[in-house]
């Protein structure tokens, strides 16, 4: 059976391809969305947290011989510490002003990237895959490492969802992300929210990096692409809206997977940007955003 001259099997396969990676990008975008919603800053260094998460796992697994399972909690700890340091020493002193925070985030981005280059070298490094085989289901194939990465991502997102909906801190965070001024009126401490947002966001980013690192070779400049994808997702879904992130991520995953097969590299590159541009103009708050 063929659609647009392409075997249906290929189309479905491409759909699965895109979705698989989409979930990891959703992890990244979640953090970006939380931080933007709560702190109202565009955390340009988020991609570098992701990159350092990947290198952390590389360091633990390849250089210190830990198993992947043991390396993951350490990777989360790295992300947590990085996020807390960034919030306390780089973002908080600036008082949330627009231009200085963007500049600082950019400066941090440049420095972290250079530090990774100095520390690990430009040569792409590989983390031995924790699941090197491919799995076949109903004629569709996917690397097991991707499947597991998707599973972990979904699990984390569900955990985050439970946290946000069931715990007091989580509810406060949701409120702060949705509408900052109103949450201030409700007596929610903005500093605590900033800390929580950065902490959670950075942990998720570093886990995403670790997962991605086991599928692809890692290099010091991988943060840039991740940031771009995250940005696209949160604009699609709506900055500050968490269900929006999931929807946006799935849409982007779909385009990333299907466009190269159906219409080639040009569309795959330009289409997401184009769509996001239209959304920014017509409905800047995205599909699910507020304000």
């Amino acid at each position: 059976m063929e659609i647009f001259g392409i075997p249906a099997a290929s189309l479905v396969q491409s759909f699965i391809n895109g979705l698989a990676l989409g979930w990891i990008y959703i992890l990244i975008a979640m953090g970006l969305s939380l931080v933007f919603g709560t702190m109202r800053i565009l955390q340009f260094a988020h991609g570098e947290v992701y990159m350092l998460g990947a290198y952390a796992v590389y360091d633990f697994v390849v250089l210190h011989g830990l198993s992947f399972l043991a390396a993951m909690p350490l990777c989360m700890a790295t992300g947590l510490i990085l996020g807390l340091i960034l919030e306390r020493f780089f973002f908080r002193p600036l008082g949330g002003e627009f231009l200085p925070t963007i500049m600082i985030a950019l400066g941090v981005m440049i420095v972290l990237q250079a530090m990774a280059t100095v520390g690990f070298g430009v040569t792409p490094k590989s983390i031995p895959s924790f699941a090197p085989h491919a799995v076949e289901v109903l004629g569709l194939r996917l690397g097991s490492d991707r499947l597991i990465a998707v599973a972990v991502s979904i699990a984390l997102i569900l955990l985050l969802y439970l946290f946000l909906k069931r715990t007091k801190l989580g509810l406060a965070l949701t409120a702060a992300a949705q509408h900052r001024e109103a949450s201030l009126l409700m007596g929610i401490n903005p500093t605590h929210m900033s800390v929580a947002a950065m902490a959670i966001g950075s942990v998720m980013a570093s886990v995403a990096g670790g997962l991605m690192g086991s599928i692809f070779p890692i290099n010091p400049v991988m943060g840039g692409t991740a940031l771009m994808k995250g940005l696209i997702i949160i604009i699609l879904g709506g900055m500050g809206s968490l269900p929006g992130v999931v929807v946006g991520g799935l849409i982007l995953g779909f385009i990333d997977g299907v466009a190269p097969v159906v219409s080639g590299a040009a569309t795959a590159a330009i289409a997401p940007l184009f769509i996001v541009t239209i959304i920014l103009v017509l409905r800047p708050q995205g599909l699910f955003g507020h304000e």
Binding site: P100, G107, L280, V281
Partner: protein
């Protein structure tokens, strides 16, 4: 202290001396390499200044590089494919960029703040990718090469000035950029007050009858025009254009241009100029540091944001402040002016 004629004259003569010195640079630097760097600095100065014009209305455009691309390619292609003299195509390049800005202003100026910045960022990237995937226009991965320099000027038949050499191009850049800065300064003088009002609070400005959209449009178009001119200057200087992501028109450059402006200090006209010059020369001076060089650059940016938020040109203000603080020995929190939003 009376603000009188003597100060105005002192200011003007200092500026004049500065300009004379700038023109003497090629004579002092007998080294083509540093001339090359200084030429790039001039182009960055124009870019950063064009960004500042738009920022006067309160919007940070992260897409100046996209309009630079438009100017560069239109000027290059017109002069190469249609044989139009470079002097004309450079101007057309700027006009094309301005025209696109006008066209895009309808959707773009509907957004504000972070959304505006992200939108301009994405638009620049779309321009780049579109060019990349149109190899008939952009030369594809091989790029557009053999872009001609501006035509030689014949001075009354006595002598002619060619622009293939770096020193002559330096003079060209100096003249064009200084003239552009003059124009920008003029615009600032007539419109700057209104722009400032819009920047501080555009709803309030609208409520007192200022056509916010119109003024923002003017700033945006002017800014993009000069970005386009910077692009034309770049094209005929490098003789080569490519839309590779690692090259000039990639995402990182827009970020650098914004850094030049902010690090230099955007409150004054001279801010982006100083920022662009210092931050173009710094990486070259730091070349021996090799892979540590970006760390120095990034650290510099962070340092400036923490301790000299108004930028490098506010250095005397900060020096006095630190001096006062050291003398008094006590913490005094002074209000920051000029930082809004």
């Amino acid at each position: 202290m009376s603000k009188g004629l003597p100060v105005a004259w002192a200011k003007r003569s200092a500026l004049a001396i500065l300009i004379v010195l700038l023109f003497c640079v090629p004579l002092v630097l007998r080294n083509d390499y540093w001339l090359f760097v200084f030429c790039l600095a001039w182009i960055n100065v124009l870019l950063a200044s064009s960004l500042r014009t738009i920022y006067r209305t309160g919007e940070l455009s992260l897409g100046q590089v996209g309009f630079m691309l438009l100017g560069a390619y239109s000027s290059a292609l017109l002069s190469m494919r249609l044989g139009i003299p470079v002097w004309l195509t450079m101007l057309i390049g700027g006009l094309f960029a301005a025209g696109m800005a006008l066209l895009l202003s309808f959707p773009v100026l509907r957004t504000k703040g972070v959304y505006f910045s992200v939108l301009t960022f994405l638009i620049a990237e779309i321009f780049r990718l579109a060019m990349w995937y149109m190899p008939s226009l952009s030369g594809g991965p091989a790029g557009l090469s053999k872009i001609p320099p501006p035509g030689t000027i014949n001075l009354f038949g006595i002598t002619s000035i060619g622009f293939a050499t770096k020193s002559n191009y330096y003079y060209l850049l100096a003249v064009v950029v200084l003239f552009s800065l003059l124009l920008l300064q003029r615009a600032e003088r007539s419109l700057g007050f209104t722009w400032m009002a819009i920047r501080q609070n555009d709803d309030l400005a609208e409520s007192v009858g200022i056509d916010v959209r119109g003024y923002k449009l003017i700033a945006f178009v002017i800014g993009c025009f000069f970005a386009g001119i910077a692009g034309s200057l770049f094209a005929h200087f490098m003789h080569l254009l490519t839309t590779d992501v690692t090259a000039m028109f990639g995402m990182l450059t827009s970020i650098y241009v914004a850094i030049y402006m902010v690090a230099g200090g955007e409150a004054r006209m001279a801010g982006p100029i100083v920022g662009a010059v210092v931050l173009t020369l710094a990486p070259e001076v730091a070349r021996p540091l090799k892979e540590y060089q970006p760390i120095v650059f990034g650290a510099l940016v962070i340092f400036i944001m923490f301790f000299m938020r108004q930028g490098i040109i506010a250095l005397p203000y900060y020096l006095r402040r630190w001096g006062r603080r050291a003398a008094a020995g006590q913490e005094r929190r002074l209000g920051e002016n000029g930082t809004v939003r």
